[in-house]
């Protein structure tokens, strides 16, 4: 470890890091803008200037940029030398020449890195009296607001969007004092990760547009550590609430999972929590089909009356917490329980769980995936089924660049140099899928195959790795590429609902492991707790099994599950006609609830605590950000009250959340670590609970004065070590309990570094969550056989689901902005099929499927396997489409093409036009 001297202070620093990192690691505040721990240095903003001295005698020194200067043994620096402090102040002053004085109306105010840095360098008086540059802003879609006047030209947005996230529609334009960051023309940002611009931008150029509709300052938000329920990746989030509304979702750093970034579904998809479709009160269905609102206790009593002495069965939910599912299953008994998957989904997800429990390959975190040096993706469009993983894979293919940099003696953080050196050289990524995917642009090989052929291809690769090459030369080549790697990663998942694909992925990983590679195997599964529920239950606990016994059931309890999305209408009819009373427990209104006899309002993830098991097998805890309004209750509370009222001997002994966790942990060996996922309710930091509110929270306002002028009492949290109050300490606690980041002098999200053990390292309290699945010993052999081929009928097409970040997930799709981006359901065809049918993009095609005709808009695919067509998965119109089944197509002669819409705007573009793209102007 080299020793350096900063203002005489001797520091032991990490080999290979730069001065800025060394200072931050030592707790020294050195201001910066363009450097980002995940994106390295480019030395563009000149803010982290320090004075370097040649030796002890040198008293003059020279100015160097902290982020561009590697540490060397004995190097001497000063932050306090006048030369440096004046320089840093001058940098801020020059940035302020054009920066507007609009902090009071800027959404970034109060969590602005520019504000923090301005205070840090001591710049106070503005001397410049001239006019400021003004810019025309662009409409960038419903998620991101654009205000270019505030730009300080640090280039972080463009570097994040293009270099890190692979977006192509945001660029740095023009030069010197009129540099502009935006699109070629106004329009929706195409990247699925655009929301991170909000956090990457050190000032208020890119801000959270939905937040602006009901704005609150960071210091007025009540936050809690939470887990995103948008997909199975389990990104850590910090949602913020004010006045009973969920205002926004910010990233919560987890070194091993999401790092600094979220996808747009995760960041913007929680609007449904404030939706008018939320259930407020329990409802009892009357004879005329309408619902009568009843109180919690009445609802529990009614249910108990129906259930006592009768046969009760239940359907769980892969989007509900482990605790709720566990309680429900304990209550009704596993023979009366269905896990809540659709039947084919259940088979695939249970198989994935079975493989992960026994495989010798590692089920990696995203951090581990980013270290992969060769990647094979089997049948997944990862960007849409596990978005944050896809962002990680984009970093993984850069390992080639890092390797080249190492050979050239370049540190990894020299971002521009490393990218220049590598150009388009990337680590191998092979994508085998039926249709084009959003990672095609970085793939080294693309193979278009239908689901069954993917499984065969996978088996051939596995065999070739094991030393038995087949006559499929591409499979042999892929095997070679994977064998050349040290840390090969196989990614597959449930989206094709094909067990053979899942198996073949496991077989490849095992074959690589047997060839002494550090093989990694990652599966994308559909929902936030799919894997958790699969680990809790057995494959036999299926809805089909329950329907077969429907006549024996008197009462059926359905937990957070809109069965319309899982089973066919005829199966729902079978359930109904058997005569059982239906009790539905959910967050949002849906069609299923309207046929239930009793509806119970459940709290959303933002109002409840629970544990979710991510696709990595990581169990993570989320906590209520605010207390549920009206008579909503967390599902686990309903599922304590109901069995207790029915006299269930075991469950009636439980009263607190921690007790359920303990009971669940004790229920099987695999769940033992659940009690260690987060500290229990009794945990105190420095003798205090952890405050959900900042110490600057504006406590009293007149917002509810129309109801009461008395200050309402703060709710008391009996279930967690967090408190609904500003009194408490948010410092030094385990990472699973950090509600937001703030540190003196660091109001922006950059204060995160004060919570990290080192720059870009894990949080001081360790990484949040507990991994339940570690590599075992079993080697998987694929059983996929060549006889598995379907005989295609002419003019029949196999349906392949196309998942969309915006629109395919049930709850987030209710969010206004997400539903706008989701657009209409569609059918996607290859160019050849489209030509045969005589249709183009935007035309209509009638899809006939099991005797049902559906007219859908056409999209044209760039890459498609033989006989495959894609359809928008999870959209209301296509819910009855069955993955892998066959459909016939015909042009819809009645179809009205949608008139091309003018680019939407917010109508707020009232600033006078000016010269941002004025290349004529110097």
């Amino acid at each position: 470890m080299p020793t350096i001297y900063v203002d005489g202070q001797q520091l032991s620093v990490k080999e290979g890091e730069n001065i800025l990192e060394a200072c931050l690691n030592a707790g020294i505040d050195l201001p910066y803008f363009c450097w980002h721990p995940a994106m390295g240095s480019i030395g563009s903003c000149r803010q982290c200037a320090v004075v370097q001295y040649q030796n002890e005698e040198d008293t003059n020194g020279r100015i160097v940029m902290g982020c561009m200067t590697p540490v060397t043994e004995g190097a001497r620096f000063s932050l306090s030398a006048d030369k440096g402090t004046e320089f840093r102040e001058a940098v801020i002053e020059s940035l302020m020449l054009n920066h507007p004085h609009d902090c009071p109306v800027c959404a970034e105010g109060g969590e602005c890195h520019l504000q923090d840095m301005t205070v840090m360098v001591g710049h106070r008086d503005r001397r410049y009296k001239g006019l400021k540059n003004t810019y025309r802003n662009q409409y960038l879609g419903p998620l991101i607001s654009h205000e270019m006047n505030r730009c300080i030209t640090c280039y972080r947005c463009e570097r994040y969007y293009s270099d890190y996230a692979g977006g192509t529609d945001l660029s740095a334009q023009a030069s010197h004092d009129h540099v502009y960051f935006g699109r070629h023309e106004a329009g929706v940002l195409e990247s699925e990760f655009s929301g991170n611009l909000v956090e990457v931008c050190p000032t208020g150029v890119f801000t959270d547009k939905p937040l602006l509709k009901h704005y609150s300052r960071k210091w007025d938000l009540q936050s809690a550590p939470s887990i995103c329920t948008g997909c199975a990746v389990g990104c850590n989030i910090a949602p913020g609430e004010r006045y009973g509304k969920l205002k926004r979702v910010h990233n919560r750093f987890n070194h091993e999972v999401n790092g600094y970034f979220l996808c747009d579904r995760g960041r913007f998809g929680s609007g449904y929590v404030n939706s008018p479709l939320r259930l407020d009160y329990a409802g009892l269905r009357k004879l005329d089909g309408s619902f009568q609102a009843i109180h919690q206790q009445a609802a529990v009593d009614t249910a108990a009356e129906w259930i006592k002495g009768k046969k009760v069965a239940a359907i769980g939910s892969p989007r509900a917490s482990l605790e709720a599912n566990y309680l429900l299953r304990e209550w009704v008994g596993k023979e009366n329980f269905a896990a809540g998957f659709s039947d084919r989904e259940g088979q695939v997800v249970h198989q994935i769980a079975a493989i992960l429990k026994t495989t010798n390959a590692l089920c990696p975190s995203i951090k581990q995936m980013e270290a992969a040096d060769a990647i094979l993706i089997l049948g997944e469009d990862v960007t849409h089924t596990a978005p944050r993983v896809a962002l990680g894979l984009r970093q993984a293919v850069r390992n080639k660049a890092h390797q080249l940099a190492e050979q050239a003696g370049l540190p990894k953080w020299q971002d521009a140099a490393v990218r220049n050196l590598a150009q388009d050289q990337r680590s191998p990524m092979i994508i085998v899928s039926p249709l084009d995917t959003r990672l095609d642009d970085i793939a080294s090989e693309l193979v278009s195959l239908g689901a069954d052929d993917i499984a065969l291809f996978g088996s051939a690769v596995a065999q070739a790795i094991a030393g038995q090459p087949s006559d499929n030369s591409m499979a042999n080549r892929v095997a070679e590429l994977l064998k050349e790697a040290e840390r090969p990663l196989i990614v597959s998942g449930s989206s094709l609902l094909n067990n053979a694909v899942v198996e073949s992925a496991a077989a490849i990983a095992s074959a690589l492991k047997d060839s002494d590679r550090q093989a990694m195997l990652s599966y994308c599964v559909p929902e936030a707790n799919s894997l958790g529920v699969a680990l809790l239950t057995e494959e036999s606990e299926s809805i089909a099994g329950l329907i077969a016994r429907a006549s024996e059931i008197d009462v059926l309890v359905i937990l957070e599950n809109d069965l319309q999305r899982r089973i066919s209408p005829s199966q729902i009819d079978q359930l109904r006609s058997a005569g059982a009373k239906l009790i539905g427990l959910d967050v949002l209104e849906n069609e299923l609830l309207s046929i239930c006899d009793l509806v119970l309002p459940a709290a959303s993830y933002a109002e409840a605590e629970g544990t979710l098991v991510s696709s990595e097998g990581r169990a993570q805890r989320y906590y209520p950000v605010f207390t549920p309004a009206a008579e909503r209750m967390p599902s686990w509370k309903w599922l304590l009250d109901l069995p207790t009222a029915c006299g269930h001997s075991e469950i009636s002994k439980l009263t607190h959340f921690d007790q359920i966790v303990e009971a669940c942990a004790a229920s099987c060996e695999l769940f033992r670590p659940l009690t260690k996922v987060a500290p229990d309710q009794g945990f105190r930091s420095h003798g205090l609970k952890i405050a959900r509110k900042t110490h600057r929270y504006s406590g009293r306002t007149a917002i509810n004065a129309n109801l009461s002028v008395h200050e309402p009492q703060q709710p008391i949290d009996h279930e967690s070590p967090l408190t609904f109050s500003m009194e408490g300490i948010n410092r030094d606690q385990p990472a699973s309990l950090t509600p937001f980041y703030w540190s003196p002098g660091w109001n922006s999200n950059q204060s995160l570094q004060k919570f990290q053990a080192e720059v870009d390292g894990p949080l001081r309290g360790g990484s949040a969550g507990q991994r339940l699945l570690e590599p075992q010993t079993e080697t998987f052999k694929s059983t996929a056989s060549t006889t598995n081929h379907f005989k295609m009928q002419p003019s029949q097409w196999q349906l392949v689901p196309i998942y969309r970040v915006h629109g395919s997930e049930e709850l987030s799709a209710v969010t206004e902005e997400i539903s706008e981006l989701a657009g209409e359901a569609f059918i996607a065809l290859g160019a050849v099929v489209a030509e045969k049918l005589g249709v183009g993009e935007g035309d209509g095609v009638i899809v006939s499927h099991f005797g049902d005709d559906q007219s859908l808009e056409v999209k044209i695919l760039t890459r498609v396997a033989k006989n495959c067509i894609g359809y928008s998965a999870g959209y209301a119109q296509t819910l009855d489409f069955r993955v892998g089944s066959f459909a016939t197509l015909a042009k819809d002669p009645q179809w009205q093409r949608r008139t091309p819409q003018l680019i939407a705007t917010d109508g707020g573009n009232k600033r006078p036009p000016n010269d941002w793209q004025e290349s004529l102007h110097v």
Binding site: S175, E185, D424, S919, L920
Partner: protein, 172 residues
């Protein structure tokens, strides 16, 4: 350009066969298509006087870049014109040597004569006036370029001569 010469590229834009031939000649020298971005912009500008949004989209499509990526290049360079210019562009040097030699006065004369300021085009579309930081002819300062011609040792008289038959400024 007539329609027969046009080739429809992947996007909405149009490049002529001649433009494509010239761009292809540049592409032959470089490993990455996007490397020809500047040359392609210059080629199209040489044919059309300036680079419209449609032209830019067509070039981007031909070079397999996004319009944003090419826009970043196009707007970086002052001499790629993203707005229409007159038949001839006057690049008026306002750099230090010319400034010492009194270019401010001469610029005022040009503006008076043509009735335009920096960034403007004469009503008859003959001239667009732009400042330029240096033309590399300091020994003959003050200087400017009219189209492709360098005009040196400028004085007010010379400006009068140069634009003597120019009608465009007269009515302003």
């Amino acid at each position: 350009m007539n329609d027969a010469q046009m080739i429809q590229t992947d996007r909405t834009g149009l490049l002529t066969q001649e433009e494509i031939r010239q761009i292809d000649a540049e592409l032959a020298h470089i490993p990455y298509k996007s490397g020809a971005a500047i040359d392609a912009l210059k080629i199209v500008q040489a044919h059309r006087g300036w680079v419209s949004d449609e032209s830019l989209q067509a070039i981007a499509s031909y070079l397999e870049m996004s319009a944003e990526e090419l826009e970043g290049v196009a707007t970086f360079y002052n001499l790629i014109y993203r707005r229409p210019v007159g038949e001839k562009v006057i690049l008026f040097c306002d750099s230090v040597s010319c400034w010492i030699c009194g270019c401010d006065k001469i610029k005022a004369k040009v503006s008076e004569k043509l009735g335009i300021d920096y960034g403007q085009t004469t009503a008859d579309n003959h001239y667009t006036l732009l400042p330029v930081p240096c033309l590399g002819a300091c020994d003959r300062a003050p200087v400017m370029m009219i189209g492709d011609d360098l005009v040196t040792h400028l004085d007010e008289e010379k400006i009068d001569q140069l634009f003597s038959d120019n009608q465009s400024g007269g009515d302003q």
